[in-house]
Amino acid sequence: MDAVNTHGLGRTYDSGKDGTRALDGVSLKIPAGSVYGLIGRNGAGKTTFLRIIGTQLMPTDGSAEVLGFDVVREPRPIRERIAVIPQESRPLYFLTVEELVDLHLRQRGMARAEAKERTRKVLADLDLTRLSHKIVNRLSGGMRRRAMVAMVLASDAEFLLLDEPTTGLDPLARREVWAAIRQASRDHRTVLLTTHYLDEAEALSHRLALLDNGKLIVEGTPNEIRARVRWPFRVTVPLTIPEEELRSYGEVSAFAGGHLVFTREAQARSLTELALKRNLPVSMAPVSLEDVFLQLVGRPLDEATPTEEAES
């Protein structure tokens, strides 16, 4: 069963002649129980897509079903089954971490005893127990974000929508959130995740969708997406091999320490052998998602899009 099924989903802000097309005809399916990553630059349409799925924003085109319910006509049964961390959201500053999670669960209608137990468990899972009686305002930005993640993970929602949940977290804290997201998936919950961190998307997601300028560029498992690009392998060689020689293997770009050659598997192997014969350092690997993004979109991930303002 699919947790999400969209057909030509679109959203135009400030409809009219000068409307900004933030989402443009996106059709995709998110399998239930999976972790699904949405990647793209700022303004690519990730948050717009997530807010439509979360019934917070009306679409202007197309249709979307979440857990079998239509987002426009049947928001209530969807809301009963989802929990969301909005982008740039901040917790209520005068509560303790424990109160924040516990009261969030009780606000969702959960009984006191169950809320207490779930709060205790999630705080332990996210290494927040030692901070449970601290007022949120006295925590660092990263800790506050973690407390928000705890609120959502502790809920009984079967579908979690996390809009950049690890922004501002240190690497260790990110790993703890990752572990909690993986646990949610093992508990058969569906997770829709937007992120700027491609390592995070790759580490967590069963499937990924790449959005750019509101359009779906590619969708699939990380390996399927890699297979879709023209050059699925990368070879790094020193600058001593001339660029003209490398061009016969594939696409070449220079960086401070050497040449980066995007190529196919057979050519990657022969280039590696060539470098080894010349006693030169060489490395060969499948392309990263960053490389895939660059090849498919033609621009790096950290470059903003014209629709960024509309989405934010």
């Binding site: 809301r79 969301v84 909005p86 982008q87 959201s89 606000q107 209608g109």
Partner: protein, 255 residues
Amino acid sequence: MTGRNRLRSLLTIAYWNGVLPMKRMPLFLLNTIASPLSFLFFIVVVSHGALLLYGVAGGIVLTMLSIGTSVQTDLSHYKSDLKLHDLVVASPVEAPIYVAGLALSEFLFAIPGISLFIVIWALSGNPISLSSALLVVLALILVWAFASALGFTLATYFEDIRETFVFSPLLSLALTVLPPIYYPASFLPSWLRPFAYLSPATYAVDLVHQAMGLTNFNGIPEPYLLPAWADILALVAFAAAFFVIAAKKARWREP
């Protein structure tokens, strides 16, 4: 959500938005009664004590009216500063439960102020009968209802908290300047009275004046604007109208 879960949700919202801030930041309480008490002081001094009970009546009504502004400010703060509106929308919490929870929390904030005014009323030597107390409570509940619905509807339209800072005082002026909140209705020029009917606060204060037995001022019989039943009817109509507007026009989900 079952009915029991809805009640639990409502009380939880009232707890985190009312009880906890009162416990942790008691200065908030002072803020809710500062304006009505200042007005009372000013009126009592200027009238040499003659308008004490009018000041008390005004303080009670103004404290309840300010709930609408508080609901609006809180909602705008949670929406634009903390980005928590989206979190609540995408959850089992329904809009009426969320608003009722916030409105209840503001009611809790108003209780100490209203209690203070009632104590002043009692100490002034004027009797408080059961029927007059019930009439005041009814007026206050109706003011609470329409002010909360109005505050909610407006808050869903604001994109930024600064819009609230600009609009809230204007709303307060519209609701409180013309109605005879702090003075006898006889002070209001007759040609202005029809305009006073446009504000629901007029009916609330008229009802409270009647409940407090403010039948004349300096020997001049007090021209109540309407009989008590008509005031109640008007307040019910305003509350119902604001609820309908909230249900139809409030932007719970971004259109």
